[in-house]
C-alpha cells in the first residue's frame, strides 16, 4: 500500500469538505457546479478504490493525526462502510451529473455557490459518519450532514418545503440529542468513545443500567434519523417539497446512513454484551418493520402526488431493511444490507425520473401525467424498468434482495412463513402503486394537448445509467452480495 493509499479514508471526508468553502468563492455561471461535481466524482473514485481494497481482503484502519486508538480518533473502512460509501458518493455524483439543468430551474443563480457548498458539506458529513470508528465523531458528522441537508431541502422555490424542513429539523435535532445523551452515558461508564474499544469494555461495567438507558437513547435517536416507523413522519413532506435533485441524493442515502449507524451500534456494541438484547429486535423492530411495510405501501397506493407516493414507498422499503436486520441471522442482515444498496438504485432511478418529469410539468400528480408517455417515451420507459426493480421482478436488482430476504425469513422457522406472506403482499401493493402511474402515463388520454418534449439529455442519460445498473445488478449481483455478506458477518462477529 502506497503512502497515498493509506490516506484514502481521511481524503474521503476531506476532499468534499475542503472543496465546499472553495465553491462559495466561485460565481461564474457553471463553475460552482463543475467544481462540486468534480469533488463528488473524486470522492466516488476514492470510494471505489476503498471498496476494491476491502474486497481484496483488507480492513483499512487510519489513525487521525497518528494518535493511536483508543486515544486518538480512528477511521476504519470495512465491507459495510465500503458498500455504504459507494452508495453515498455514487448517489451524490449521479445527482450532480444529471442535475445541472434541474438545479438551475430550482435555485437562483446567485445562490448556487452556497447551495453547492451545502451539498458538499452534506456529502462530507455522510461520508464522515461512514468512515469513522468513533462514537462522538459520528455525532459531529451527523450534525454536519443534517444541517447541510436542511439547507438543501429548503433551498428550492417551493415554500411548502419550509414547514417540512422545520419538522425534519425538530425531529432530527431530538434524534441527534438522544444519540448524544446515549453516547455520553456510555462514555461515563466506559471512558471510551472508540466503538471497538467500547464493545470490549462494556462487558466489564458492573452496573448495566446506564448502558441499557444508553442503548435506548441511541436506538430511538437513530430510529428518528432513519425514519423507522412510527418515527417517519418528517420524511414524506421533506422528500416531496425538496428540489428534485436533492431528493435523488438524500432519498438514496440519508436515512440509510442512519440505519448504518444503528446496525453498527446495536450489533457491534450492544448485542454481544447486553443480556436479553434480542428482545428489542424480536418484539419492537420486527413488528414495527412489518407495520412500516404495510402502512407505507397502503398510503402510497392512495397518494395522488408522485413524489409523496415515492416517499411513502421509501417508508415501506426502510421497513424491509430493518426487517432483515431484526431476524438476527447472518442471512437476514445480508438481505438488509443488500437491500440498502438495491433500494438506493431503484429509488434513485425513480426520483431521477421524477426530476425528468419535473423539468416539463409543474405539478407532479398522477392526473397531470396522463398520456405523457407519448411525449416522454424514454423517461417513462425508465420509470417502468425502475418500478419493476422496486417491485422486485426477477432480472432486476430489487429481486435479488427480496430473494435474500425471503430465504432468510424461511430460515427463521414457523414465523418466517407469515413474514414471507407479508413480503409478498407488500410486493403486490407495490405493483398497484407503480402501475397506477404507468397506467396514467401510457394508457390515459391527456386532458389537453401537451406541448412538452423529452427531458434534457444529461438528466435522461444519467437516469438510464442508473436504470441499467438496476438491470445489471439483477443479473450480476456478485459485488454487492460479497460486500453485504462481508458486512453481515462482521456485524455478527464472525470473521469472514
Amino acid at each position: 500500500m502506497t503512502a497515498f493509499h493509506s490516506h484514502l479514508p481521511v481524503l474521503q471526508v476531506i476532499v468534499p469538505m475542503l472543496t465546499a468553502p472553495l465553491v462559495i468563492l466561485l460565481n461564474q455561471k457553471r463553475l460552482p457546479w463543475i467544481v462540486a461535481t468534480a469533488a463528488s466524482l473524486c470522492a466516488f473514485a476514492i470510494a471505489v478504490t476503498l471498496a476494491m481494497s476491502v474486497m481484496a481482503g483488507q480492513t483499512i484502519q487510519y489513525s487521525l493525526g497518528a494518535w493511536p486508538a483508543p486515544w486518538g480518533i480512528e477511521l476504519a473502512v470495512d465491507a459495510f462502510s465500503a458498500l455504504m460509501l459507494l452508495v453515498v458518493t455514487g448517489a451524490s455524483s449521479v445527482a450532480l451529473l444529471a442535475g445541472a439543468q434541474s438545479l438551475d430551474k430550482d435555485i437562483e443563480h446567485h445562490r448556487q455557490p452556497l447551495f453547492y457548498a451545502a451539498w458538499l458539506l452534506a456529502l462530507s458529513g455522510l461520508a464522515g459518519i461512514l468512515v469513522t470508528a468513533d462514537a462522538f465523531n459520528i455525532f459531529v458528522f451527523m450534525e454536519i450532514s443534517s444541517l447541510a441537508s436542511y439547507v438543501l431541502i429548503s433551498g428550492g422555490p417551493d415554500k411548502r418545503a419550509l414547514p417540512a424542513v422545520f419538522k425534519y429539523l425538530v425531529m432530527g435535532t431530538i434524534g441527534a440529542t438522544f444519540y448524544l445523551i446515549g453516547v455520553g452515558l456510555i462514555y461515563m461508564m466506559t471512558g471510551t468513545l472508540n466503538l471497538a474499544d467500547m464493545a470490549f469494555r462494556i462487558e466489564d461495567v458492573a452496573d448495566q443500567t446506564p448502558i441499557l438507558l444508553a442503548a435506548g437513547f441511541i436506538t430511538i435517536g437513530l430510529a428518528l434519523k432513519a425514519a423507522i416507523f412510527p418515527l417517519h413522519i418528517w420524511l414524506p413532506n421533506a422528500y416531496t417539497y425538496a428540489p428534485n435533485m436533492v431528493t435523488v441524493f438524500l432519498a438514496a442515502c440519508a436515512t440509510k446512513v442512519a440505519i448504518y449507524v444503528l446496525l453498527r451500534f446495536d450489533f457491534f456494541v450492544f448485542q454481544p454484551n447486553l443480556v436479553g438484547h434480542d428482545f428489542q429486535f424480536t418484539f419492537f423492530l420486527l413488528p414495527l418493520s412489518l407495520l412500516a411495510i404495510l402502512v407505507g405501501s397502503s398510503v402510497a397506493i392512495f397518494e395522488p402526488k408522485l413524489k409523496r407516493l415515492m416517499a411513502w414507498s421509501s417508508v415501506a422499503q426502510i421497513g424491509y431493511i430493518t426487517l432483515g436486520a431484526s431476524l438476527l441471522s447472518v442471512s437476514g442482515t445480508t438481505a438488509s444490507v443488500l437491500h440498502i444498496f438495491n433500494h438506493s438504485l431503484a429509488k434513485g432511478a425513480l426520483f431521477l425520473v421524477m426530476a425528468c418529469l419535473g423539468m416539463r410539468i409543474a405539478q407532479l400528480r398522477i392526473d397531470n401525467i396522463a398520456g405523457i408517455a407519448q411525449k416522454m417515451p424514454w423517461t417513462m420507459a425508465a420509470f417502468v424498468l425502475a418500478g419493476l426493480s422496486l417491485i422486485g421482478v426477477p432480472g432486476t436488482a430489487g429481486f435479488i434482495s427480496k430473494w435474500y430476504l425471503i430465504t432468510a425469513s424461511f430460515e427463521s422457522g414457523a414465523m418466517g412463513i407469515a413474514l414471507v406472506v407479508i413480503i409478498l403482499i407488500s410486493s403486490l401493493m407495490a405493483v398497484v402503486y407503480i402501475w397506477r402511474i404507468v397506467e396514467s402515463a401510457y394508457f390515459r388520454q391527456p386532458e389537453e394537448d401537451l406541448v412538452i418534449t423529452e427531458a434534457p439529455i444529461p438528466l435522461l442519460l444519467m437516469t438510464w445509467v442508473v436504470v441499467l445498473m438496476n438491470v445489471y445488478f439483477g443479473f450480476a449481483p456478485g459485488v454487492p452480495i460479497e460486500l453485504a455478506t462481508g458486512a453481515a458477518e462482521l456485524l455478527h462477529g464472525q470473521t469472514p
Binding site: L388, I391, V393, P394, G395, I400, W403, I406, T407, F410, V420, L424, I425, S427, L428, V431, W435, E439, Y442, F443, R444, Q445, G474, F475, A476, P477, I481
Partner: protein, 485 residues
C-alpha cells in the same frame, strides 16, 4: 448459438419493426413476416437434434449461488417453441389483413410488442430452471398488457387491469413462493428428468406445493384463477388468436406439465395421495367452464370459456400421472392450438367482414363466407374431438392413459365435456350452414380480406393434418415418457 439466435431474432426484429415503421407500413409488415419466418426456421432447425436424443443447452451465468440463468431444450419445450414460432408466421399474415381492414391505430406498437411476447414465449419454452422460467413468465405478462389494452378506452383498460391483476397477483403471490420453497428444500430449481423433490419433500406438504404451483401459474386458467382470460378478449382478435389461444395460455399449461414432470417427478407425485386433488380441480374446471360457455352469446367470450375448459383438459391429462396421458397432454397443447386459433381467426374474419360479434347473428353466414365457416367447422369439430381432426388424437391418448390407471373420474369428465362441447358448437355449425339469414341484418358482404382467409385456411388444414400425420410428434413426445418411465 441457435438458442441465442432464437432470442436475438425476435428482439432485433422488434427493433427493425420500429425503424421500418418510419419508412412505410409495407416495409414494417415485411419485417414482421421475415422475422417470423427466420425465427421459425431457426427454432425448427433444432428438431433433428432433439429427435436423436440431444439436449442442446446454453448456460449464461450464475445469478446467485445455485441459481443460474440458462436454457436447456427438451422435447416438451421444443414442441411448444416450434408451435408458437410456426403459428406466429400464420398469425402475422392474418394480423396484416385484420389490422388494416379494421383501421386499428398504433399498429407499430402492436407489432413490436407481439414480437417481444414471442421472445418471452420462447424463453419460457427453453428455460433450464424455474428461475429463468419465472423471469420470462413475468416478461410475457407485461409484454402482452399493451396488446390487451390496445384499444385504450375505459372499458378496455378495466379489462386489461383484471388481466394484469390476476396474472401478477397469482404469480407473485403463489408461484414465486412455490419456486422459493422448491429452491429452499431441493437446493436447485433445474428441470431434471424424474424430478428434484423426491427425498426432499414428502407428505401433505407436497400437495400444498402443487397447489401453489397450479394456482400460481395463472396462465393455465384452472378455476378460480381463470377470470383474466375472458377479460383478455377485449384485445384485437389476432392477439386473442395467437396469445390467448396459443402462446400465453399454453405457456401456462406447459409450465404445469413441466413442473409435474421435471420438478415433482411423475412417480413421486403419483405415490403421494395429497396430490390427488389436482385431477378433481381440473375436472371441475373442464365441466363448469363448458357449462358457462353454453350460456355465452358473444363469440369471443364463448371461445374464451371453451379455452378455459380445454386448458384444464391438459392439466387433467397431466394429473392422471401416467405416461400415455402425459403424451396426450402435450399432444393436446398442439391440437387445441391449431383448432382454437382457427376458431379465433374465423371470429375475427366474421367481425372484419360483417361486424358481427354475437352467436345469434351468425344464421346462414356460411353461404356468404364459405371458406371461413368451413374452417370454423373444422376447428369446432376438433374441439369436440371428432375424427378426422387433431382433437381426436389427443383425446385418444388421454383416454388411454386414464384407462391405464382405471381413472374413472377422468373418463367421465372427458365423456361429459365432449357432450357439452358438442352442445355449444353443433347448434352454431347448424345455424351457420342451414338456417335462413336474418333479413334485418346487413347482408352485402363476402369473405374477409385474403390474408385472413389464407391464414385461417392454413390452420384448418393443420388441424386435419395433425390427425393424418402425427407420428413424428408422438415419437418426439414419447421421449418425455421415456424419461418418465
Amino acid at each position: 448459438m441457435t438458442i441465442a439466435l432464437s432470442f436475438l431474432i425476435p428482439i432485433v426484429g422488434a427493433l427493425l419493426i420500429l425503424a421500418a415503421s418510419r419508412v412505410s407500413d409495407n416495409l414494417r409488415e415485411g419485417v414482421t413476416l421475415a422475422t417470423a419466418v427466420a425465427l421459425a426456421i431457426n427454432v425448427w432447425s433444432l428438431i433433428p437434434e432433439l429427435m436423436s436424443g440431444g439436449r442442446p443447452e446454453l448456460q449464461l451465468f450464475e445469478i446467485l449461488p445455485g441459481i443460474d440463468f440458462g436454457f436447456q431444450i427438451e422435447p416438451l419445450g421444443m414442441l411448444f417453441a416450434a408451435l408458437a414460432s410456426g403459428l406466429w408466421i400464420v398469425n402475422s399474415i392474418y394480423s396484416i389483413g385484420y389490422m388494416r381492414a379494421n383501421k386499428e391505430n398504433k399498429q407499430t406498437r402492436f407489432y413490436v410488442f407481439f414480437a417481444l411476447s414471442i421472445t418471452a414465449t420462447i424463453g419460457i419454452a427453453f428455460s433450464a430452471n424455474l428461475f429463468t422460467l419465472f423471469l420470462f413468465y413475468e416478461v410475457l405478462t407485461l409484454c402482452t398488457y399493451p396488446l390487451v389494452s390496445h384499444k385504450g378506452d375505459a372499458k378496455t383498460i378495466r379489462s386489461a387491469r383484471i388481466y394484469l391483476g390476476v396474472l401478477l397477483t397469482t404469480s407473485i403471490g403463489l408461484l414465486l413462493p412455490a419456486i422459493l420453497w422448491t429452491y429452499f428444500v431441493a437446493g436447485t430449481g433445474d428441470f431434471t428428468p424424474g424430478g428434484i423433490l423426491e427425498g426432499n419433500l414428502e407428505g401433505p406438504a407436497l400437495g400444498l406445493l402443487l397447489g401453489l404451483f397450479v394456482f400460481g401459474i395463472g396462465k393455465a386458467a384452472v378455476m378460480p384463477v381463470h377470470r383474466w382470460l375472458p377479460a383478455a378478449m377485449v384485445a384485437p382478435t389476432p392477439v386473442s388468436a395467437l396469445l390467448h389461444a396459443v402462446a400465453v395460455v399454453k405457456a401456462g399449461v406447459f409450465t404445469v406439465i413441466k413442473v409435474i414432470v421435471y420438478i415433482f417427478g411423475v412417480e413421486h407425485l403419483f405415490a403421494e395421495p395429497s396430490s390427488g386433488w389436482l385431477l378433481y380441480a381440473a375436472a371441475f374446471t373442464v365441466i363448469v367452464a363448458s357449462i358457462v360457455a353454453l350460456k355465452q352469446t358473444n363469440i369471443k367470450r364463448l371461445l374464451a370459456y371453451s379455452t378455459v375448459a380445454q386448458l384444464s383438459y391438459v392439466v387433467m391429462a397431466a394429473a392422471i400421472l401416467k405416461p400415455l396421458a402425459e403424451v396426450g397432454a402435450s399432444m393436446h397443447i398442439v391440437a387445441h392450438a391449431f383448432g382454437k386459433i382457427t376458431l379465433f381467426f374465423a371470429a375475427g374474419a366474421i367481425y372484419t367482414a360483417a361486424k358481427k360479434t354475437e352467436v345469434w347473428q351468425l344464421k346462414g353466414i356460411g353461404r356468404r363466407m364459405p371458406w371461413t365457416m368451413a374452417a370454423f367447422t373444422i376447428g369446432a369439430l376438433s374441439m369436440i374431438g371428432v375424427p378426422p381432426t387433431g382433437g381426436f388424437v389427443s383425446k385418444w391418448f388421454i383416454l388411454a392413459g386414464a384407462f391405464e390407471s382405471d381413472n374413472y373420474v377422468a373418463i367421465a369428465t372427458i365423456i361429459g365435456s365432449t357432450v357439452l362441447n358438442a352442445a355449444y358448437f353443433l347448434p352454431i355449425i347448424f345455424a351457420v350452414w342451414f338456417s335462413r339469414e336474418d333479413p334485418e341484418q346487413k347482408l352485402d358482404h363476402g369473405e374477409a380480406p385474403w390474408p385472413m382467409v389464407t391464414a385461417l385456411s392454413i390452420t384448418a388444414a393443420l388441424t386435419i393434418g395433425l390427425f393424418l400425420f402425427n407420428a413424428p410428434l408422438i415419437a418426439l413426445e414419447s421421449q418425455i415418457v421415456g424419461i418418465v418411465k
